[in-house]
């Protein structure tokens, strides 16, 4: 573990008396390795190590009898600060219906996340509507319908031959005349470098002005997380992130990468395949997990 590795570094430095800047830099190399192994992006790690090294050169560490513990404490605190406060509230605005749009790469967990949020909102006394705007993936509409049926939430669909922005617009009209207060729009997975498909998302956004545009990202994403997150954010100005499959054993460094490049809050995490498997994002838990 990182604390064991840092103990090792400082142990062999103990004999030489006072700690020097060079010693701290050596300790920071261990932190760098730990973060890279946790899938935090290379450039994000560089910036993080620079800012933490500055803090670690202060008296706390240099004059401490337990420098390893002090370094861990500083790293941990910096990570938590970077990951933002617990922000699990959806900003549903004042107009009715509120609109949530889910976006992201192929297979990240969007459709399942739509079901999970619908379930959550229903338990909070809302009347949600799921909207099938994935008109390309085989049986995507059926998948959403099965999820909706499981939690007794209606699914709005116009089949797979209608333009997705038109489906989104029509779903708002349907919502207004059916006492729905939150509309959750599922979209097809797509690559952030596919201009035509990214443009489709912009058109849906302009058609229905979502209150929340949530990037659904797989927690086991590696170095590519920064490319994906910054592209989606630049095109759509996302309002938040849902990190999925955290019931796996990935360290989840993608969380730090995504937060660092977008500055947008991670609102929820997926912790399983069932519709109840969603919980708020806790920055301190994520920080501990990343450090390993």
């Amino acid at each position: 573990s990182l604390s064991e590795r840092l103990q090792g570094v400082f142990k062999k430095l103990r004999g030489k008396g006072k700690l020097t800047e060079k010693d701290i830099k050596e300790a920071m190399r261990e932190v760098k390795v730990a973060l890279l192994e946790a899938d935090v992006n290379f450039k994000v790690v560089k910036d993080f190590i620079n800012s933490v090294t500055e803090k670690a050169l202060g008296q706390e560490v240099m004059e401490s009898l337990t420098p390893a513990q002090q370094v861990i404490k500083i790293v941990h605190e910096e990570l938590i600060k970077l990951m933002g406060s617990v922000e699990s509230r959806l900003n549903l605005g004042s107009k009715v219906p509120a609109v949530i749009m889910m976006v992201g790469l192929q297979g990240s967990g969007k459709t399942t996340a739509c079901g999970k949020l619908a379930n959550l909102l229903k338990k909070q006394g809302k009347n949600p509507l799921l909207v099938a705007c994935d008109t390309v993936r085989p049986a995507a509409i059926k998948q959403l319908q099965v999820l909706g049926a499981n939690i007794n939430v209606p699914v709005f669909t116009m089949g797979d031959k209608v333009d997705t922005a038109d489906i989104a617009k029509a779903s708002i009209d349907y919502a207004k005349s059916h006492n729905v207060d939150v509309v959750i729009i599922d979209t097809a997975g797509r690559l952030h470098i596919d201009d035509e498909l990214m443009e489709e998302l912009v058109r849906i956004k302009e058609a229905v002005h979502p209150d929340e545009i949530l990037l659904v990202a797989d927690a086991m994403t590696g170095q590519d997380a920064v490319n994906v997150a910054s592209s989606f954010n630049e095109r759509l100005d996302i309002t938040g992130v849902i990190l999925t499959k955290l019931d796996g054993d990935t360290r989840g460094g993608a969380a730090l990468s995504i937060k660092a490049v977008t500055q947008k809050p991670i609102k929820y995490v997926g912790i399983g395949e069932k519709l109840g498997d969603i919980e708020p994002f806790y920055p301190d838990r994520m920080a501990s997990r990343i450090l390993g």
Partner: protein, 276 residues
Amino acid sequence: LSFGKKVDEELFEELEEALILADVGVDTTYKIIQSLKQKTKEEKIFEASKVRKLLAQEIYEILQKDVEPFVLTSPMVILIVGVNGVGKTTTIGKLAHLYKKQGKSVMMVAADTFRAAAIDQLEVWAKRVNCPIIKHQEGSDPASVVFDGLQSAKARGIDVVICDTAGRLHNKKNLMEELRKIRKVIDREYSEARVETFLVLDATTGQNALQQAKIFKEVADITGIILTKLDGTAKGGIVIAIKEELNLPIRYIGIGEGMEDLQAFDAKSFVSAIFQ
């Protein structure tokens, strides 16, 4: 570009960064760069472009070492496994299409009986490539669907049976046990068939892919890897670490969502793509 640039520590740091950004991982990158520095010294290399060529060659050798070509024989059972959302079901559509083009008879087995509309999804692919599909009700026992699929394939003299399975995280013990059971059924019910178990990995996955490969290999005797979503910006470099540590050959790559978007793995182009 570093043509005519000298070989110095800055060059090795640049190459190290490229490998890390490609998800090769810290340990494997370190080993590769150390070996590269050694060779550069021994062979007295002073040109950066030559060092780059040496690095590409080194990675190529890791990927190609002891790899037997994949030959389609009949009868064959291909079991497709992997964690959630990596592209298993879509890849089966692509494989069926490829093998049919090669003149083989193919059958699909819808053994993901868990996920919403998983059977429906595979059925669409079966229609697209025009091949038979064996399925049960959603919620039924996957091992029994496989059992039925194999009986049917034997009776019909099918060349290649491809089994879809539910996505499952490798740290879920009960799901890995279910997979072990499915594998046992195949070995027991179709002993005359050659069995290939392909682990599907998503190119966007980071270091966790190594753990996935380790656990799936223990449970389901993985014989090859299919790396999907290489049409994105992720490089999938973790397969280098996987090949080095577990000697699993990469058989195919997925480069899109259509039936034709599957290619046999080509180590040379994979390596050059890492440095683009």
